[in-house]
């Protein structure tokens, strides 16, 4: 298992060719109370940097981008009934979707945990 991060404050956990994607603790704290999440349906093709999900806090709507290209294998259905999971467990039960990677090389565009921490500290 490897863990990666993006400048859009997503985390990507890769196991085999499946990447689980969510938003970081930093991102959920910035967004505040999450009241709605729209996750992509299984089977949809997403491309790196393209819109994949929508997250709405009390304050505003934000897009969640696909950090890597591939086919959506699952959206987190639990978020429909309990979007606050993104606040309480952003890097656990509050995951957004799983992608079957189409291009492993894209992972090299992503940040490591240390790089992400330095990036957040510089914000």
């Amino acid at each position: 298992m490897s863990l990666y991060f993006t400048k859009e404050h997503e985390w990507i956990k890769v196991e085999g060719d499946i990447a689980t994607v969510g938003i970081t603790d930093f991102a959920q704290a910035q967004l505040g109370d999450i009241v709605f999440v729209e996750v992509p349906e299984a089977g949809r093709q997403v491309t790196q940097g393209g819109e994949a999900a929508v997250v709405e806090s009390v304050k505003a709507a934000s897009d969640v981008y696909a950090p890597v290209s591939g086919e959506i294998v699952e959206g987190n259905a639990a978020l429909e009934n309990d979007p606050s999971l993104v606040n309480t467990a952003p890097e656990g039960e509050g995951w957004f979707f799983k992608i079957r990677l189409s291009d492993n090389h894209q992972l090299s565009d992503l940040m490591s945990a240390d790089q992400y921490k330095a990036f957040v500290d510089s914000q």
Partner: protein
């Protein structure tokens, strides 16, 4: 750090020390939240929330003829406004457009006005131009706090004994441990509560005293917005602007009976005509299906997919746990129960017109049972 051009509130350091996240609003650095909007919203509905609204403009209108001059710019009947009573009113253009909404209070020999922060400079210029014979004084050294919620009266009456005798939309002079204060029973949340005007130099002591009461937590702008939305109260610059009239905005209660008949205020001709003939659009409340917020700027669509109106405020209601909105819709569709179709970022939402407030007001009216 405040950005260039943004002023700081007298309580700026106090907010930061309380853990507030500060954002630019109405030309000031203001606290948007402390613990989180949802928690602050619910705390205010169940306990008491302390809001810093010192960005708002506090004005005194004084001098011979102040009442007559104010009636030339406001549609309120000030002749029947008793001492210590507040009234909601509007500054209007000659076309009946809303320049600002405000509270006007008769305070002895003068009137005290509270206007919106983002519009106060323009309001003052407008008032001075339209009322050259009277003094319009901007009380720049005055801060304004609001204490809102069902337990506000418990907390405030400990600090300022006697406030419990005030009823909704009345005010008076009180002493908060040696600090002179003008306190009215009014607010912008739909809850019982008070607005407290003190000198800026005293506001930190008053804020500390109030925040130390067990019922009280500081509340930011985020919850202020969701609370006022649930209460059905319009926000200037969003639900109201110079292109909307009081009739379109469903604020005809602000047009006093005598003034509707006699006129003599800006925009009267158009407003009298609209009162008689109606308007094309009207501000209504919408209950939106589902949880996804439909926000300001979303379109109101007719059956053919044409845009026929606009959402002016919208969000997630923490009390109702569903999406609610205010929108201008065709008057023909404005009756409660009517189905309304909305479009936002290419997605269609179903809504229906519902009466406002979305969450019942809990004002302490005169003669009401406790």
């Amino acid at each position: 750090m405040s950005d260039a051009g943004e002023r700081t509130l007298p309580l700026d350091a106090w907010h930061r020390a309380k853990g507030a996240r500060m954002v630019p609003f109405a030309g000031y650095q203001m606290p948007i939240q402390y613990d989180g909007i949802m928690a602050e919203h619910k705390w205010t509905r169940e306990n008491a929330g302390l809001f810093d609204v010192s960005h708002m403009g506090q004005l005194v209108v004084a001098g011979d003829g102040a009442e007559k001059s104010l009636e030339e710019v406001l549609p309120a009947d000030l002749s029947i406004l008793k001492d210590g009573r507040l009234r909601y009113s509007l500054l209007l253009t000659e076309d009946g457009g809303i320049i600002d909404d405000l509270m006007v209070t008769r305070r002895g020999d003068h009137f005290y006005l509270v206007v919106n922060g983002a519009t106060k400079e323009g309001d003052i210029a407008h008032l001075q131009e339209r009322m050259p014979a009277v003094v319009v004084d901007h009380m720049k050294e005055q801060a304004l706090l609001a204490l809102q919620g069902p337990k506000a009266v418990d907390a405030l009456s400990r600090a300022a004994p006697g406030v419990e005798a005030l009823t909704f939309m009345t005010g008076g002079t009180f002493d908060i441990e040696g600090v002179p204060a003008w306190i009215s029973r009014s607010g912008y949340t739909g809850e019982d509560g008070f607005e407290i005007s003190v000198q800026a130099k005293d506001v930190e002591a008053v804020a500390n005293l109030l925040a130390s009461q067990p019922e009280v937590k500081p509340i930011g702008l985020g919850a202020r917005d969701s609370l006022r939305l649930e209460a059905g109260l319009p926000l200037y610059g969003h639900d109201l602007d110079v292109n909307t009239t009081p009739v379109e905005a469903d604020l005809t209660f602000a047009l006093s009976k005598r003034r509707r008949e006699e006129g003599g205020f800006p925009g009267w001709h158009r407003i009298a005509s609209e009162l008689q003939n109606g308007t094309i659009l009207k501000r209504v409340g919408l209950a939106v299906e589902g949880r996804q917020p439909v926000r300001e700027g979303a379109m109101v669509m007719d059956g053919e997919g044409n845009e026929v109106g606009r959402v002016t405020s919208g969000g997630f209601s923490p009390t109702l746990e569903s999406a609610i909105a205010m929108a201008y819709v065709p008057t023909a569709s404005a009756e409660p129960g009517n189905a309304i179709t909305l479009a936002q970022r290419g997605k269609i939402f179903q809504a229906r017109v519902v009466p406002m407030p979305f969450v019942p007001h809990k004002y302490q009216r005169k003669g009401a049972q406790k």
